[in-house]
Symmetry: C2
Subunit: 215 residues, 2 copies
DNA sequence: TGTACATCAGTGAACGCGCGTTCACTGATGTAC
DNA sequence: TGTACATCAGTGAACGCGCGTTCACTGATGTAC
């Protein structure tokens, strides 16, 4: 490869629609993340994937880190939407279990994206000069919104008398920890002899459900 | 920096002791991992840290990936030794809780090292041509040896009538998942309002302990 | 005991590569008159 | 309705950098005779 060339067939965006490329850049980065590892996501690779030249990215993002932040923000929105969409069922336990299954599926189907979402310290930026408190709040809020679905799920199980939890907040945190741990550890150690039923067992324990899975 | 220079004060190893540098290289890479992020660990950076020139590494390891594998292998040995050393106490529940605390401390005190240990898929090499089945077995065994401590811990709690677990293997896996999830999620989201007592709550739930923490 | 030689541990210069980033530019499109 | 001009979206060439990796080498140390 001599140098980065733009895709000649790509039409330039019209005057007011330059912002469209912003989304194409995020989509390209997300796509790279879905089909390769995080280290494959370079500024030039994103540009290649989007069919533009590398400097074009600077019109839309300050640097690669800003692109990745946009990718993660978007992914958290998607995760939250996925969890909310899965929160259906007559019984509260069914709804909670469906949410947990949806969480695990999200992580399993997009392992590298999931890794990046949780692979950086949300608080203090690893690179970059200093995170403003606004950035901190934004990132923390994204995680919290998805987390709230679990809190609601457990609270409704308690209401229906299906959970012995005395503290939905603490147990939802424990459940989140369990789902996150299972997602990442399964990806890291696929050859581990994972016991069947671990997923149900984990959810039932952590949400303190009293109803058996099949009833 | 013009180019990589060796530390002139470093004495060369004597004839039969060339293998000593192998360990110094692993130690240097581990040290970098303890004080910086994984991306800071390059072949040249390891050489600088060890006070040698970059090509010297090739006398001992095929490439950076081989160095990192040695780092991870060593870290798993250390983790297992740490867990076994922590397995003390009169009551089985005390021993199990001590092991869990030791696990969490290990991860918290060396977050980047822990990340690398669990940050790669153990099974199929991300990079590299093909992992031999021997390599697969070696890596899987390392994880399993540490895992066995948890299995023993739960089994002994059952023996003493302090756990209602009917399947130590499954529940030990769940416990491992919980410890791993708590370790990584806490590191990722330090600003999350982590409930007090989450650690005890998690261990008690997953190991199905019947005895309260304070008694 | 001395000496030639092989081996061993590590050096230093050099290479090509992909990277992030800069800079001046091009050419299409909307707008003012 | 036409035309000059400003703006906007994106290009292409170029830069310096740290990287992994190669190669021929150096100089100390052990060994054979």
């Amino acid at each position: 490869m001599t140098d980065v060339k733009a895709d000649p067939s790509r039409p330039r965006n019209a005057r007011g629609e330059g912002a469209r490329l912003s989304e194409e850049i995020v989509a390209a980065a997300t796509s790279l993340l879905q089909s390769g590892s995080a280290s494959a996501v370079t500024l030039r690779a994103v540009a290649r994937e989007a069919g533009i030249t590398a400097p074009s990215i600077y019109r839309h993002y300050a640097d690669l880190d800003a692109v990745l932040r946009a990718v993660v923000d978007r992914a958290f929105d998607e995760l939250e939407a996925t969890l909310r969409a899965a929160y259906v069922g007559d019984r509260a336990t069914d709804r909670l279990r469906a949410v947990c299954t949806a969480y695990l599926s999200f992580a399993r189907e997009q392992p590298n994206l999931y890794r990046v979402m949780f692979g950086v310290v949300w608080n203090a930026g690893d690179s970059g000069p200093e995170p403003t408190s606004e950035e901190l709040d934004a990132r923390a809020k994204l995680g919290l919104r998805a987390f709230e679905v679990l809190v609601t799920g457990i609270a409704e199980c308690i209401e229906e008398g299906r959970s012995t939890s005395a503290d939905p907040g603490t147990d939802a945190a424990a459940l989140w920890v369990g789902l996150h741990g299972l997602s990442t550890l399964r990806q890291t150690a696929p050859s581990f002899p994972w016991p069947g039923g671990l997923e149900d067992s984990l959810v039932d324990s952590l949400a303190r459900l009293t109803e058996p899975t099949e009833s």
